[in-house]
């Protein structure tokens, strides 16, 4: 056990509300009759379907392949028949629809033949990354970035430390807590594989001090396998939001900062979530692709809160009614945590790879009141973990002075919500920042488009000019040629005439 070396400014001590969902062990969600699988459950390119409507699939069978580099495979979470490949509502803040594969399950839950690899050292690092990609594994902490990419440091980087994120700093969410309590060994399997793939010795597992059960479970598992985990240690850090955010976590554990617009790998660090680690262990050693995840269902309106191992594609309402949730139809609920999640109103949406928590009803919800004007108290700046000046950003976002928002480092905002939380005027600051960010991006896109259009227009003009010149040139040439032929003709005719004259002359003579 080692001590954290650093700290970050600001942050909040929040009421964790974790006990709501940790008193029962992880349970399995009953198999749903239909499973809806969006083709994009990760950051990057959406996967491409490799099945047709009417195909019969087995549990764990690939149903969509990775498209491009930043993409992963998708699998059937249970056996059944593909009934549709079409646009359906997906869990997204804007209520988007996207291409999904729908499976009607046959309740037999028949697996494909699984390729087990108990001794993963037989595989090369490359093979491991490939297998992880084929298993469809993405960051399960919430971001959903394809994991195999983060296990490929490339030739220019050397990884010094692998950080395993078991912080789970958002209130209410407990899926990482529970997986550490109950599946510590599986997490260690994943860590071993990642250390092998990254060729890194040092590894720290970071857990907040509000999870004593998880800490002792991990410590016990580590002790049992001491010989394999010489350079792996557990770091217990004080509970403070948002320590679980990758950059803040790195600062707490190592005292170092990831350069702005840079990646952790730039300072020799790779971070993975405990859930991801577990999934990697299952994928490599047991050959199981990512077809389920642990979802916390909790909140003040949930009667039987807890953690549920849920097949991807399970409609949320099944999970909600399984937990006896008192929720009015269309009452919004949160996907993710109360600080960074987003609200959904339709409960027929499917569980995806990034759905870590369904939260119905929170204590201390932000009230429905018109916010007061900003009184510049600066509490937001004090709370900001990245040292921004939210009240200045708010001022410029409101007046749409996007230039200024950039100057004040808008794009370094991690949208943790600390500023909105502490604001005495109850201004939804993050809302404004998201707006300014999208607005800037739209503007950039527009400029880019305009630039391309202008370039195209200029090229066209140039081309026309060139064509015109060419045409003129051709015309001139033709004229010249015409004149030349004419002249030649005339000359020939004249010669002919001359010749005939002379011939007649000759004849006459």
């Amino acid at each position: 056990m080692t001590k954290p070396l650093g700290s970050f400014p600001g942050g909040l001590v929040l009421d964790g509300q974790k006990k709501r969902s940790t008193h029962v062990s992880i349970r399995k969600t009953p198999l749903s009759k239909t499973l809806i699988l969006p083709l994009q459950q990760h950051i990057g390119e959406a996967s491409t379907p490799i099945v047709k409507v009417g195909d019969t699939v087995l549990k764990g069978q690939k149903i969509a392949r990775a498209e491009g580099h930043v993409s992963v495979y998708l699998h059937a979470p249970s056996s059944g028949v593909i009934t549709a490949i079409d646009d359906q509502a997906i869990p997204h803040p804007s209520g988007l629809s996207a291409l999904c594969i729908t499976i009607k399950t046959d309740s037999e839950d028949r697996w494909i033949d699984l390729q087990e690899t108990p001794d993963f050292t037989r595989l090369s690092e490359h093979d491991i990354r490939h297998k992880i990609r084929e298993a469809g594994i993405v960051g399960l902490g919430g971001a959903g970035f394809p994991s195999f990419i983060k296990l490929n440091p490339g030739v220019h980087h050397h990884v010094e430390t692998l950080i395993i994120n078991g912080v789970e700093c958002e209130p209410y969410i407990t899926c990482d807590d529970m997986i550490m309590r109950e599946r510590a060994d599986g997490i260690l399997d994943g860590i071993e594989i990642m250390r092998y793939a990254l060729r890194v010795q040092n590894c720290v597992i970071v857990i907040e001090d509000n999870k004593p059960e998880a800490i002792s479970a991990m410590e016990l598992a580590l002790k049992r396998r001491q010989s394999q985990f010489q350079n792996t240690s557990i770091v217990i850090i004080p509970t403070r939001y948002p320590t679980g955010s990758e950059k803040q976590l790195i600062q707490v554990v190592t005292g170092k900062q990831v350069p702005s617009h840079g990646l952790p790998i730039d300072i020799g660090i790779v971070c993975h979530n405990v859930g991801t680690s577990y999934a990697i262990g299952r994928a490599i050693i047991h050959g199981e692709p990512l077809i389920s995840r642990i979802v916390t269902v909790t909140g003040t309106d949930v009667k039987h809160a807890g953690n549920f191992e849920t097949l991807l594609g399970t409609p949320m309402h099944e999970l909600l009614s399984f937990c006896e949730t008192q929720r009015e139809t269309d009452e919004p609920f949160i996907l993710g945590g109360p600080m960074m999640g987003y609200n959904l109103s339709g409960d027929h949406l499917p569980i995806t790879k990034t759905a870590n928590c369904i939260l119905v009803g929170v204590d201390n919800a932000a009230p429905k009141r018109e916010p007061l004007p900003c009184i510049r108290c600066g509490d937001c700046a004090t709370a900001c973990p990245v040292s921004l000046l939210p009240q200045q950003l708010y001022w410029y976002s409101r007046s749409k002075d996007l230039e200024k928002t950039r100057e004040y480092n808008l794009f370094d905002c991690i949208e943790c919500g600390c500023c909105s939380y502490v604001c005495p005027s109850e201004i939804p600051l993050v809302h404004y920042f998201r707006f300014a960010k999208t607005e800037t991006m739209t503007q950039e896109l527009e400029t880019e488009k305009a630039d391309t259009a202008r370039l195209r227009h200029e090229n066209r003009l140039e081309r026309h000019e060139a064509e015109k010149k060419e045409k003129e040139e051709r015309q001139r040439q033709r004229k010249l040629a015409l004149a030349a032929t004419k002249a030649a003709k005339e000359k020939a005719e004249a010669e002919k005439a001359n010749a005939s004259e002379s011939s007649t002359d000759n004849q006459e003579t």
């Binding site: 970050f8 909040l12 803040p93 600062q251 900062q257 990831v258 350069p259 702005s260 617009h261 840079g262 003040t300 009452e331 919004p332 949160i334 993710g336 109360p338 600080m339 960074m340 999640g341 987003y342 609200n343 929170v362 204590d363 201390n364 919800a365 932000a366 009230p367 429905k368 009141r369 018109e370 007061l372 004007p373 900003c374 009184i375 510049r376 108290c377 600066g378 509490d379 700046a381 004090t382 973990p385 990245v386 040292s387 921004l388 000046l389 009240q391 480092n409 370094d412 949208e415 919500g417 939380y421 502490v422 604001c423 005495p424 005027s425 109850e426 939804p428 993050v430 809302h431 998201r434």
Partner: protein, 341 residues
């Protein structure tokens, strides 16, 4: 609880503007009690008048600006402006002085700039300076502390004095009024008297002016409560007091025969009121941590400069307003370094 926000975070902390203002008023209580004890109950009359005028003016302005009354009348900011000005005014300030000051503060210094949160200058100080420049006589007519007064005023006498401009005895104000310790120190140093000799006079107490020293200490106590409750941060008061202390320490050690002691400056006039309640007004002060230190130090230095070399006995109000002007500049150049930047 159902959600009302459209996007995260869905939680909100306990901090509220109104709560800040209430705590601020609460922190003023000990010093106000001391004011009543030393200068009679007239400050309470002025304060009531100021609050009523402020709320009325605020309501009229909100109506004219088509703003809702409820959230803004109850946010407490108008009451705070009124209370701070009432405390800063001399005890027997005539009613019209208070009314002019408050009306100007609320209309010109606050609402014409856009209301709560948008005013670049501290409204109470704008009003104070306006009155000081326009009505210098009324603004500098202070009472001596009650124990030195030959005829201390009771509640009804004070009421009569404020609203009719007359004392019940029929005598003029000048018969009972006197200079403040800060004023006395300045004029008598001007007459080449030694500060240590001046402070032997009955007007002075153990550390600074009689009564004034206790009042200042009680303002500081209230300020400490605000820092403890995190209504204000320590940066501005500490920087201001340090600024005032260090410049007076320098001049005092160089020329002790012509300058008052640093302690005298810390516990005289509006020092502590200014440091904890005026300069810390979030709307008009600098917002960055470094900026707050610069801002506070500036207020402290300017207060001393105006007190000692300026034309007015106290300089807190001017110092705050001058530093208010510099806030955008200070904030711009004291931005914190962003993570990874």
């Amino acid at each position: 609880m159902p959600l009302s926000r459209l996007s995260s975070p869905f939680l909100s902390g306990p901090s509220r503007v109104t709560l800040h203002m209430i705590q601020l008023l609460f922190a003023l209580v000990p010093a106000v009690i001391a004011l009543v004890y030393f200068f009679g109950p007239s400050v309470l009359i002025t304060m009531t008048l100021a609050i009523v005028t402020a709320l009325f003016t605020e309501a009229v302005m909100l109506k004219l600006r088509n703003r809702p009354l409820e959230p803004f009348l109850t946010d407490g900011s108008a009451v705070v402006t009124a209370v701070l000005l009432a405390i800063a005014l001399p005890p027997l300030a005539p009613w019209w002085l208070t009314v002019i000051g408050i009306v100007f503060a609320i209309i010109f210094a606050k609402h014409l700039y856009g209301g709560l949160g948008y005013n670049p200058f501290n409204p109470a100080m704008v009003a104070y300076v306006l009155l000081l420049i326009s009505f210098p006589l009324e603004m500098t007519t202070w009472l001596p502390v009650t124990e030195l007064s030959t005829s201390p005023l009771g509640f009804s006498a004070a009421f009569q004095a404020i609203f009719t401009g007359q004392l019940s005895t029929g005598l003029g104000f000048d018969t009972i009024s006197g200079a403040t310790p800060l004023d006395a120190m300045k004029t008598q140093i001007g007459l080449s008297l030694h500060p240590s000799y001046i402070s032997e006079q009955p007007l002075f107490g153990v550390l600074a002016g009689k009564g004034w020293e206790s009042i200042n200490l009680l303002f500081a106590l209230g300020g400490a409560f605000l820092i403890y409750r995190r209504v204000i941060s320590w940066h501005i008061p500490v920087a201001m007091l340090l600024g005032l202390f260090s410049i007076s320490l320098v001049t005092w050690s160089v020329a002790p025969e012509t300058t008052a002691s640093p302690l005298f400056h810390l516990l005289s006039g509006g020092t502590m009121l200014g440091a904890f309640f005026i300069a810390t007004d979030p709307v008009t002060a600098a917002t960055t941590i470094k900026g707050r230190l610069v801002f506070g130090a500036g207020v402290g230095l300017l207060t001393y400069i105006i007190r000692v070399w300026g034309g007015y006995p106290d300089g807190v109000a001017f110092a705050v307003l001058i530093m208010n002007m510099l806030v955008p500049l200070i904030d711009y150049y004291t931005q914190p370094k962003v993570y990874g930047g």
